[in-house]
Point group: C2
Chain length 161, copies 2
């Protein structure tokens, strides 16, 4: 089993990693991610290390129907935004979101330094993701990922450019 | 969602956490663990932070039939022992074990400082665990955990004292 060294993994730009249709990727271009779980060949859950730059956000505020999710802060400081407000997270702090709990969450870096954290999430076969703040809906069914408007209509191709 | 602060969680002694029948818990009394995943109410995977003291080992060398497992090193140094030999792990290094890959693994602390790491593992409904070095077999079926000898005979009650 090869040992994984995080500084040797390729980093994926946040906006590419998330795949939101425009204009929702805006703000997610200030983070990078590397998949440790895939590097280890795992399939039941994902483990990523993410580097969130000052002014960036980790994702749009969201919650999953079928997947538990967990965050562990490595270095730096982020603000976790949830339904009940904001929480500042620093090294050695953690938070988790049980599947199907409708509590939209994301991270913002309001500091002047990069923040590093681990994100762990189940890899469910099928999932639906809700975004309470924006007109976006996500589903993954039999491996097929789809972002649509909340009413189910697709995003126009040109918006992805 | 309450934020979890790792230094506020109760630590469980390693030997109690693992639950091996005697004499196999020997050497596992030099680590402590706290379950971050349970503190967050998660059920699909477990996330624990473990503190391994000098001279201690994290578990007996083992592999799971049904559960992916992942390790992320936070601070300190451990030796990962696998079928192919030994690997030294320090901060920012990681390793993972896909379910049903027969590669027994555990960690030993041969340094003179405590080592801290995160362990993540799927919580499968049923699982079987293999221990290549010792006469031990583990199964969990419909929530019932059982350690036996490799031939299926139970460990004597008095050996648990």
């Amino acid at each position: 089993m090869p040992v994984i060294k995080i500084n040797e993994l390729p980093l994926i730009k946040g906006a590419d990693n998330i795949g939101y249709p425009a204009p929702h990727a805006k703000g997610c271009d200030l983070y990078e991610a590397a998949s440790l779980g895939e590097a280890a060949g795992l399939t039941q859950f994902g483990v990523s290390i993410e580097k969130l730059l000052p002014g960036g956000m980790s994702s749009q505020r969201h919650w999953h129907e079928n997947e538990d999710e967990f965050l562990y802060m490595l270095t730096g400081e982020v603000v976790l935004v949830e339904d009940d407000g904001e929480h500042t997270l620093t090294e050695g702090m953690a938070a988790g979101w049980k599947a199907n709990q409708p509590n939209g969450h994301h991270l913002i870096n309001r500091s002047d330094q990069p923040a590093f954290y681990l994100i762990i999430g189940t890899r469910a076969e099928n999932d639906t993701c809700h975004y309470p703040d924006i007109d976006l809906h996500y589903s993954r069914k039999n491996g097929e990922r789809q972002f649509t408007h909340k009413d189910g209509t697709p995003y126009e191709e040109e918006q992805n450019q």
